[in-house]
């Protein structure tokens, strides 16, 4: 398991300068996205970024700079007016189902149990929906395995409103993972959590990434979270958002939570903090 992970990172690091275009799972080129017609809000402008296959990318930036917009552009929920978004070699012109998405506030459906909520993507995604009825048992096993992974074993039969906020966010994560997406988009998934639960879930995500080789794009306000989890950190400017700087996180994997108390970790966080503060002022 760990060998696969370190291999993935090794190829990522060695092919750093000017990678082959096919190596990128996500390429965004010179994208402008404006909400609400010609004189609406310009959310992002001249946005260019690339995420390699198997990479763990984090996006940080001032509030309202267009991070959620970026997520929606990649998943095809919004189509940009200018520029191109290419995911897995495909020009994105409509929502694509190789992505799993988790939003900041867990959007669980209150009339379904947690397990049924987690199975929801399988009822939608073309690849699975026709197999679901016949292979129900296998899928339920998979969902229960995911629940166990995030520490929710035995909570599948509970309704979302019987879970705490943190538990709902964990279930939300399971739902984003159930259809084995190639690309996992996480928009501040640990926003409303206490520090300890958050660290616990960081480790869950870290291990998932290591074990399954999934590509992850994480939007976050928490710079320590970005530094702990990611291989690459993108710093965005204030609105209209574009990428100001791209950091390569040098820490070796597997990473331990202890790394956060090392000085090189703090130096990186400090540097990121300075850049975002700068971006806010120059807005």
């Amino acid at each position: 398991m760990l060998e696969i992970a370190s291999e993935g990172i090794a190829t990522g690091t060695t092919s750093q300068p000017k990678e082959h275009p096919m190596a990128h799972l996500v390429s965004i080129d010179d994208v402008d996205m404006r909400y609400g017609g010609a004189d609406g809000t310009l959310a992002v402008s001249g946005l260019t970024m690339r995420v390699g296959k198997g990479d763990f990318a984090a996006v940080v930036g001032p509030s309202g700079c267009g991070k959620s917009t970026l997520m929606k552009l990649v998943t095809g929920l919004h189509i940009p007016q200018v520029g191109t978004v290419i995911v897995a070699g495909q020009h994105v012109t409509q929502p694509i189902s190789i992505v799993g998405m988790a939003f900041q506030n867990p959007t669980m459906l209150p009339w379904r149990t947690t397990l049924e909520n987690i199975l929801l993507p399988l009822e939608i995604v073309e690849k699975h929906r026709h197999r679901l009825r016949a292979n129900k048992k296998e899928y339920i096993e998979k969902a229960e395995h995911l629940l166990e992974l995030v520490g929710l074993k035995g909570f599948g039969a509970k309704f979302p409103w019987q879970l705490s906020g943190g538990m709902q966010q964990r279930a939300n994560l399971c739902r984003a993972l159930i259809h084995e997406p190639e690309l996992l988009m996480l928009d501040e998934p640990f926003g409303a959590l206490d520090a300890f639960t958050r660290e616990e879930l960081w480790c869950v995500i870290r291990d998932l990434h290591a074990a399954q080789g999934v590509t992850i794009v994480l939007v976050t306000h928490d710079l320590r979270e970005a530094a702990f989890l990611a291989d690459k950190i993108f710093v965005m400017s204030a609105r209209p958002g574009r990428i100001l700087k791209e950091h390569r996180v040098p820490f070796e994997r597997p990473r331990d939570l202890e790394i956060m108390y090392e000085s090189r970790f703090n130096d990186l966080v400090h540097q990121l903090h300075g850049e975002i503060a700068q971006a806010r002022v120059t807005a």
């Binding site: 694509i96 506030n105 459906l109 009339w111 409103w161 019987q162």
Partner: protein, 272 residues
Amino acid sequence: MTIATENSTATPAIAKQPARINWVKAAPWLFTLGMFLFWEMLVRGLGTPVTILPAPSRIFQAVVQYWSPLLKNSAQTLFTTTLGFGLAVVGGLAIGLFIGWSKTIYAGLYPIMIGFNAIPKVAVVPILVIWFGIGTIPAVITAFLISFFPIVVNVATGLATIEPETEDVLRALGAKKLDIMLKVGIPRSMPYFFGSLKIAITLAFVGSVLSETVASNYGLGNMMASAQSQFNVPLVFAGLLALAVEGIAMYSLMAFIERRMTGWAHRSTMAN
């Protein structure tokens, strides 16, 4: 059974509990009883003639005296009302889903619906009589016309207020409009739908009785109209009493169905 086992295991302090009166449970009965008592005393105290306001005792007397026609006409009214209401449920659900389907349809049909709903239904009954003659059919249709509007509005509202984030989660998976409607829109609008049934059933009674009063030879509306022309005021009030009982019964049934079908909506809002 359960009470017996509870008592046997309970400590003496808890065992006293069943003796205490649950005032909240008893309140509806006590208040109804109080209302009738107050009414009785008022009529007796003021000496109001029976042709203006009969005392409850006189009304109950009329209920006993005319039980057979009361029962027959009540059954007829209940029949026309539930039939009209049933049509309104089917039609209201269908039109509500249709309207909630797209913003354009919503925008286009909403003013028409409002205008339609603003027409006093009593003005429609003569037209129905021209088309269908007097009797059961115009009563059913009037009950339908008056009660389907709240159902339509509630279902459409439930569909139109899907949280964009929930929709995004599904759309990001490649969900079509129909998927979103089936997985989110319809389950989500069910609490609105079942909530509207309580309003709709009481309105359905208004419609059917209205039509029976002006254009029928059957039903409580017709019975009350003819009792009134014979100055049989206690029978008129007995008819009203029968309507009130039917209304409360149907309302409770709808409230019960609502609780059974959409318990999650109550509990999930309570949890927040």
